[in-house]
Assembly symmetry: C2
Homo-oligomer: 197 residues x 2
């Protein structure tokens, strides 16, 4: 019991640190956020911070791991449904809940910027991205073989377009007003249908 | 004659400065690029720089003006064609030539990041964006009245989706490999058809 409690405490501390780092990253950029500032923002002692995350890179890897876990939830869901094109359309409200969150959207912009100048950050997120993409491609190829998607559809191209569209919606959510979740669910749904025609 | 030559010279100098600034912005981020560094990168004397652009904000406004001019070219073209949905599809290879340019794509990411923290930069680009969006909406609404677009199509929503998709393609072009221009022209074409169905 004591051990479980301790594990819970570690988890909570880690979450607090990642939340404080995210706040800093959004406010100042990843490059300009120091470990000291992350401590100050989260009211965390340097000892506690370095115990859980020995470097900013380690925090960034934790953020990437969170993204990976979220991607896997969608992948698991799509693997479990009969028609994953329909499944993706049905999952859109949940996906949009994440993407339209202003803090998430702004964090994604900061990560893109940092990744464009920092090879380590680029690699960490590229790995998550590549995994997600190849899982999606595999799911939709299987669906194509099962006859749910047109024989001539370029699955890889369609997955690229859907991911690009979701990136664009996220970027716009960070900066300005976007259509409602209901409208976006409808329009992304028709784009998904068109791409997997 | 002398005056024309002088004007040409001014234009060339301004272009050189904007090119040097762009190079700095991509390498270090907009926030971290100083006027001194822009001088150094472009081999420009501070006197010459301040004569043309009294501040970094003035350079950013020049970049926004360039973007506005490029948008207007597309708007003029779409206003001149009979069916602008088809016109936009036909213009995709040219549009993609710009968006898939790695330097352009990386500059756009830097601008998004800077705009998320700097209200002045946000406003300058938001204005260009709002103008472009409202021009597109007007063109496609006219086309809808002419019967080229389904009566029930939400024009504003469709324009949002197309701009988001182009943003997403740009962001991906900055970071990693993207499908070929031919493939992207085809798939954006089918998305445009679906949205304006």
């Amino acid at each position: 019991m004591a051990r479980t409690k301790n594990e819970e405490l570690h988890k909570t501390r880690k979450k607090q640190i990642v939340a404080a780092a995210t706040k800093c990253f959004i406010a100042k950029g990843i490059h300009s956020s120091s470990m000291q500032e992350i401590c100050k923002t989260g009211n965390i002692s340097p000892g506690a911070l370095y115990r859980y995350y020995p470097s900013k890179q380690a925090i960034i890897e934790a953020i990437a791991a969170q993204e990976h876990a979220q991607n896997l939830e969608l992948i698991d869901y799509l693997r479990g449904v009969k028609n994953p094109v329909r499944g993706l359309q049905d999952a859109m409200p949940d996906i949009l809940d994440t993407l339209l969150d202003k803090d998430f959207a702004r964090l994604m912009i900061e990560i893109s910027t940092e990744a464009s100048r920092n090879q380590n950050v680029h690699e960490v997120f590229q790995k998550v991205e590549d995994q997600f993409k190849s899982n999606l491609i595999e799911i939709f190829r299987t669906s194509q073989i099962a006859g749910h998607i047109g024989k001539n559809t370029d699955i890889e191209g369609a997955v690229f377009m859907i991911l690009a569209l979701l990136d664009g919606i996220t970027a716009r959510a960070a900066a300005s007003a976007v259509p409602s979740k209901t409208e976006l669910t409808k329009s992304t749904g028709s784009v998904i249908s068109a791409l997997f025609g």
